[in-house]
Amino acid sequence: MDEHGNLKKTPFYPMHLKYHGNVVDFGGWALSVQFSGIIDEHNAVRQKVGLFDVSHMGEVTVKGPQALEFLQYVVSRDISGAKDNQVLYTHFPYPNGGIVDDLMVTKLGENDYYLVVNASNKDKDVAWLLEHATKFPGVTVTDISDDVGEVALQGPYAQATLQKITGEDLSALRYYYVIPRAIVGGVEVMISRTGYTGEDGFEIMCKPADGVTLWEAIMAAGAEYGIQPIGLGARDSLRFEAGMPLYGQEMDAEVGPMEARLARYVSLDKPCFIGREAMLAKQQEGLKQVLIGLEMTERGIPRHDYPVMHNGAKVGHVTTGMYAPTLQKNIAMAYVPPELSAVDTELAVEIRGKAVAAKVVKLPFYKRPRKK
């Protein structure tokens, strides 16, 4: 029986059914919002370890003689200093300083790059890359998303779990580096020490046919640490607490890394890349709005797109807001004018027509305790 016949299936679809995920249509993909419950899953990742199906993410390779020059032109960060197997977070800006997408670039070798992009933007990204690649003869852009299954293994016991089923020395794998070819649970994979939760962990790419074997090997290895499958709901609450932006909420075609306080990932000293002039102007002339953290000081939960108020007037909007399970507070990320962005500034969020008091707090809301 196939209850999700009209949806795209990831290689882990049978696992969503086996582990009783609440499967929904997520941008055309059959993925679970939750398994045991969002708060329980959220806590499992913060305290133990969790396994996510993130196969909906897009994977794109960029290769060929001018691959580096090409990428330098389409991403905002200077990636020329990347070492082999290093992962860098960056953006594809538009000329206006908004972005096509945010992404991870891994340098696998000279002129050999592996990009992981947002599922919902993948086709747009590939079209954007192909359009600009024509100016860089010899560059090949290939969408390999259909040939890649991807899981994220996140939490304080992620390393202990994975170490049980691989011969690689994971303690030697630094944050934001990959092992391009490894064997995990008998399956050939790429291991990336990255994630979207604020915890230590890995993202693991495999061939689709190996997906279920890999998943079950990880679940078995993690059983002694209390591993749980994690759905999209906790993925969002975890990234949100960790202050990580989500395309479509904190950034979009109009609003980019300068507003989102990600200027440290933008290399304005790199001479030529799409969007540089606009981003430079934002830096020099000042921003109209900046991303802040908000904590409610009265009862109420701020939500996406709720107005942010100051002295009775609308001054901004919430990008993401919810009850934060680890902090046990109602918090939000929001855009406001820079003059209202200082920590402790008193603002309000309009919730169902009422102004509910809030104050500006530091981002990120949550930082994991540093390792021993």
Binding site: G37, I38, I39, R299, I301, M322, R352
Partner: protein
């Protein structure tokens, strides 16, 4: 978890338990299960008039905001203050400790507009089958 046989139910998954002219109003087990972890409730004030079929409160889960529709018209005589601090009570015991408000029923005849347990069980099953959230 089953549904109490002596309650009446709405299509939007609220229940009412009637004792004399007082109705205890809450969310059904199906509603709490669909919402997931409830983290916030907004209730009317004592003394406020509520109307059958109209919103009288809000529940929020981690992901979603939902209006609650009143199964009956009347005056709110008590609210379950416990839910302000422990909204998860609705998940734990929707038909008991997780009640929302008590209403002094204005017109007992309105109860005839509601579903009995048989009709509601069928309704909840159909919505579950449709994957309705």
């Amino acid at each position: 978890m089953g549904y109490p046989a002596d309650f009446k139910y709405t299509k939007s998954h609220e229940y009412i338990k009637v004792e004399g002219n007082i109705g205890w109003v809450g969310l059904t087990n199906y509603a709490q299960d669909q919402l997931g972890d409830i983290v916030f409730v907004e209730m009317p004030e004592v003394g406020q008039e509520v109307t059958q079929g109209e919103p009288f409160g809000v529940v929020e889960s981690v992901k979603a905001v939902s209006d609650c529709y009143c199964p009956i018209s009347g005056k709110v005589v008590e609210i379950n203050e416990k839910l302000n601090d422990e909204p998860g009570t609705i998940n734990a015991d929707p038909h008991g400790e997780g009640w929302f408000i008590k209403v002094e029923i204005a017109d007992m005849g309105e109860l005839d507009n509601l579903m009995d347990i048989k009709a509601y069980e069928k309704h909840a099953e159909e919505e579950a089958a449709r994957g309705h959230n």
